[in-house]
């Protein structure tokens, strides 16, 4: 859409120097860089099969006002801006595809307020899982902040903005549901507050005038509408009793059905699952596998987590979970018992204590490269999509034996929503031909998921385009109008959502 940007990389060296000086005047020379080492590490996604970009500057603001000054400069000079915290979306969402400024938000990592009475924490947008979990544990050990199976350096607010997941998502919905309100700087430099913070000094609620308090201007937009600088996140009491179980099912159909039945009880905090091959990886079996699925090996391995205020409450919940699993034909094993048979105990033992490195999940083929295609599917379609994707994997020569693929699922909000995700693991040593095969397979999976009604999330440009292809024209028109209104010069993360 719209105007072509003048990419800084193409400008003269003199102009680059001027822009550097202006950025340095805003944040201090210590926090702006156009050094070769810095630009290289911020230009590529070190994990995925996506193409690298090219950054011209990396800037680290400390305050909302500094972000504002950077945005005004960028808008005036038509310089692309890519917000960045950890680059851990596994979707290359923070790759500077058209050059410009990478805005590394990590210096904005402070907790600004904890309101115990109204149960929220107000944080700056560069805060990581490690920062926020460490802070809550130190100062408010009786409170729980929702987190997910992601590494500690993951950007907390960035994950919420991109419909991430949490360990309380079965109970309350995906990560975006935990956001009360944002502060953001628009591409044109204005500061906006959403939710209750829009018209009240309190950050306790998502709704204001109009409904949903404009938080939708930033959630799911992949940093293309502005730079979120603060967010209020819901907190919960840490219940003293907790149980974690593995729930195995012989078929994915049966497994997903039990998950949905468990979801409807309203007593579960979190349910997630992996295909059988990935269950083996988590259990620590040596790669590559030399045999296919063994007799009696579950096709779907889930883990189920719930908490309680009293021992009796936990017992009652456990009984419900056991009954539903048994009735559905699944097998329940206490987490602590289940991991006894795992050959590699080092990582799995941390699963209850998030965040977690999850090295096997990303580095599955021991080559440190992976990409998924995932999204929000109608939960009733999970098994159907799984079977369709199985055929695509087979077509491209990926088998669950050997270096396996991962089929991941997280059911959320009492079964109203859920993410399904299909991974391909590769190596940084893969040949261009192999990388192209990975890409083609992922694209076909994405197309199949879309055909089954899935909205793709954390989507690199190709997959973002798949989303737009099936989007209602009237809705699309509004989306484009909003984008034009907020970012008239198309400076925010250009090339990412590609509408």
């Amino acid at each position: 859409m719209g105007k072509k940007l003048v990419v800084v990389s193409e400008k003269t060296q003199t102009n680059n120097s001027k822009i550097y000086e202006r950025l340095a005047a805003i944040v201090g020379s210590r926090y702006v860089s156009n050094s070769e080492d810095v630009l290289y590490t911020y230009s590529e996604d070190f994990i995925t099969f996506e193409e690298p970009g090219k950054a011209d500057f990396v800037v680290m603001p400390k305050t909302t006002e500094e972000v504002q000054a950077i945005m005004r400069l960028a808008n005036r000079e038509r310089i692309p801006v890519v917000p960045w915290v950890a680059n851990l979306s596994v979707g290359a969402l923070a790759t500077p595809r058209e050059g410009g400024i990478v805005l590394d938000m990590r210096r904005m990592n402070q907790v600004l307020e904890v309101n115990e009475e109204d149960q929220y924490i107000l944080v700056e947008a560069g805060i990581t899982y490690a920062d926020v979990v460490g802070y809550v544990n130190r100062h408010y050990p009786h409170l729980r902040i929702p987190v997910t199976y992601a590494p500690p350096a993951t950007g907390y607010v960035a994950s919420s903005l991109m419909y991430g997941m949490t360990d309380l998502s079965m109970a309350y919905g995906d990560a975006s549901y935990f956001v009360n309100a944002f502060e953001a700087v628009l591409p044109t430099g204005e500061i906006i507050r959403t939710g209750s913070a829009m018209s009240s000094p309190h950050w306790n609620h998502h709704a204001a005038l109009p409904d949903f308090g404009l938080i939708g201007l930033f959630i799911g937009w992949a940093g293309t509408t502005g730079v979120v600088t603060k967010a209020s996140i819901k907190l919960y009491p840490k219940r003293p009793y907790r149980a974690d179980y593995f729930m195995d099912a012989d078929t994915v159909e049966r497994g997903f059905k039990i998950q949905r039945d468990l979801a409807r009880t309203g007593i579960i905090d979190d349910i997630a699952s992996n295909n059988w091959a990935w269950g083996r990886v988590e259990a620590g079996e040596k790669l590559p596998f030399t045999e296919g699925r063994r007799p009696g090996e579950p096709e779907l391995s889930s883990w189920v987590s719930f908490t309680a205020n009293t021992e009796k409450e936990l017992e009652a919940k456990t009984e419900i979970v056991k009954n539903i699993t048994e009735k559905g034909g699944g097998k329940l094993t206490l987490f602590e018992e289940g991991i006894k048979t795992f050959t590699k105990g080092d990582q799995i033992k941390f699963f209850k204590y998030l965040p977690v490195q999850l090295s096997n999940d990303i580095s599955g083929a021991r080559g440190g490269r992976a990409q998924w295609v995932g999204g929000y599917a109608p939960p009733s379609k999970n098994a159907e999509i799984y079977r369709a994707v199985e055929k695509i994997y087979e077509k491209y020569g990926y088998t669950q034996a050997g270096h396996p693929i991962q089929a991941y699922n997280r059911l959320m909000d009492h079964g109203h929503e859920g993410i399904i995700r299909y991974n391909i693991f590769g190596s940084k040593d893969d040949t261009p031909e192999t990388v192209e095969r990975h890409r083609k397979c992922l694209r076909e999976i994405g197309e199949t998921m879309r055909a089954h009604g899935t909205i793709l999330y954390k989507a690199p440009p190709y997959f973002a385009r798949l989303n737009w292809l099936g989007t209602d024209p009237a809705a699309m028109s509004i989306i484009r109008s909003i984008k034009r209104m907020l970012d008239p010069n198309r400076i925010m993360n250009p090339g990412q959502l590609d509408f």
Partner: protein, 413 residues
């Protein structure tokens, strides 16, 4: 993918474990993994903020170099050198093989040291490192001090310069205790004398090679390693005692066949003990009696080179045992201790090449020590002593710095 010469000694291990490929840039290397408060661990990253200064960024640059996507330049080299090589990043990495081994935990530091050697081979690396390497070549110490004055402290320590001709122990003093922190050498020799130890100090002791190995200048490291081993052999002693964590790592770890011994072309069979290890053993056997009171609330700083850099062989309890045994000392712990101790900021050639970074890192440690309510921070490394004291002074902090051996000496008086 062709590895440079500086990688040859670890090439097989790197290939077998797919390092650095397996790094997924997840940033687990930045904070104390699975701790309650997720404290920061990486001085380099916390100081510079930008991605290349964390281990994940260095891995990304290393991959870029190995794949030929980037070439050596001053800018590319800088993140590898503005780093204390403390290894706290690698300590956190839980990329794990199916047999339970942790390849990045085991190989990150050797890899970073090999990358530094490759940078030096291409003409990069700080000038300060080049200068101290030249000083080691000509005067056998990085401080450019006169070699003949290496043992000048001995007379002050014990009133004599001629020691046993048939010693059981060689006290390998190291350059920093010989020329800068003589207080540690003096206290060590005094304690040894009080204990009646049959020891000597070598007039022809050279730099152990630690500054060279850590900064990618391996050719000269080979020469000093060979020289020092020959000199110790000449004394007829079978045991080496060192009061320096850096020397301790070199003698116990770097000279070992399974580590750098092969690439350095050296081998030895000496038993090597850190002073605190020897004294703690004497304490347990009743040979050391600490009766004198030292009234202080003390926190102990674990030197990287005798702690996590040695993996399972890290020495954590010996110095603590001594401190606990000294009457009047109340030992309190900092949050980050033992294998996750925050670095003092002096190591990896940082003190000479990046003095502001060294002081900032030391300052962070001083703040942590002050948070315990301690009036003194004790350590077991002259280089840590130096930088912690410099940092405390720069901050105007009311915190004394001492070596554990100095406190033992005071207790024996």
């Amino acid at each position: 993918m062709g590895y440079p010469n500086s990688f040859k000694h670890i090439e097989d291990k790197l290939k077998a474990s797919n390092v650095p490929q397996q790094c997924i840039h997840c940033g687990t290397c930045r904070t104390w993994y699975q701790s309650k408060f997720w404290n920061p661990v990486c001085p380099s990253g916390q100081w510079k903020n930008f991605d290349p200064y964390y281990l994940s960024g260095k891995m990304q640059l290393a991959m870029g170099l190995l794949k030929g996507r980037i070439k050596w330049s001053k800018a590319i080299a800088n993140p590898f050198f503005e780093c204390t090589l403390c290894g706290n990043c690698a300590e956190q990495c839980h990329v794990v093989e199916t047999d339970g081994t942790r390849p990045i935990y085991e190989l990150a530091i050797p890899l970073l040291e090999a990358v530094r050697a490759d940078a030096v081979a291409h003409g990069f690396g700080p000038d300060e490192h080049k200068r101290f390497a030249e000083a080691i070549a000509t005067k056998h110490n990085p401080y450019d001090e006169k070699h003949e004055e290496r043992t000048a402290w001995l007379k002050e320590a014990i009133g004599e310069t001629k020691l046993s001709k048939k010693p059981d122990y060689v006290y390998f003093v190291g350059c920093t205790a010989s020329y800068r922190q003589k207080n540690i050498a003096i206290a060590t020799a005094r304690v040894f004398k009080k204990l009646g130890l049959n020891f000597t100090v070598m007039e022809e002791e050279y730099c152990c090679g630690s500054p060279l190995l850590r900064t990618g200048r391996w050719d000269l490291a080979r020469e000093v390693a060979k020289h020092n081993i020959e000199e110790v052999e000449k004394t007829g002693a079978t045991m080496i005692i060192t009061s320096c964590a850096g020397c301790y790592k070199v003698w116990t770890h770097d000279y070992a066949k399974e580590n750098y011994g092969k690439v350095l072309g050296v081998e030895h069979n000496f038993k090597v003990l850190h002073t605190t290890e020897l004294l703690s053993d004497f304490l347990n056997k009743g040979k050391l009696k600490l009766n004198g009171s030292v009234k202080a609330k003390v926190t102990y700083h674990d030197p990287c080179h005798m702690g996590r850099n040695l993996g399972e062989k890290g020495l954590y309890e010996a110095p603590r045992n001594l401190l606990k045994a000294i009457p009047g000392i109340e030992l309190v712990e900092m949050e980050r201790n033992r294998a996750v101790a925050w670095c003092c900021g002096a190591g990896g050639g940082v003190k000479s090449a990046f003095p502001d970074f060294a002081l900032w890192t030391g300052g962070e440690r001083i703040k942590e020590a002050l948070n315990t309510g301690a009036s003194m921070v004790a350590s077991a490394c002259p280089f840590c002593w130096r930088n912690l004291d410099d940092s405390a002074r720069a901050m105007g902090a009311k915190l004394d710095v001492a070596d554990v051996v100095e406190l033992v000496d005071r207790s024996l008086q």
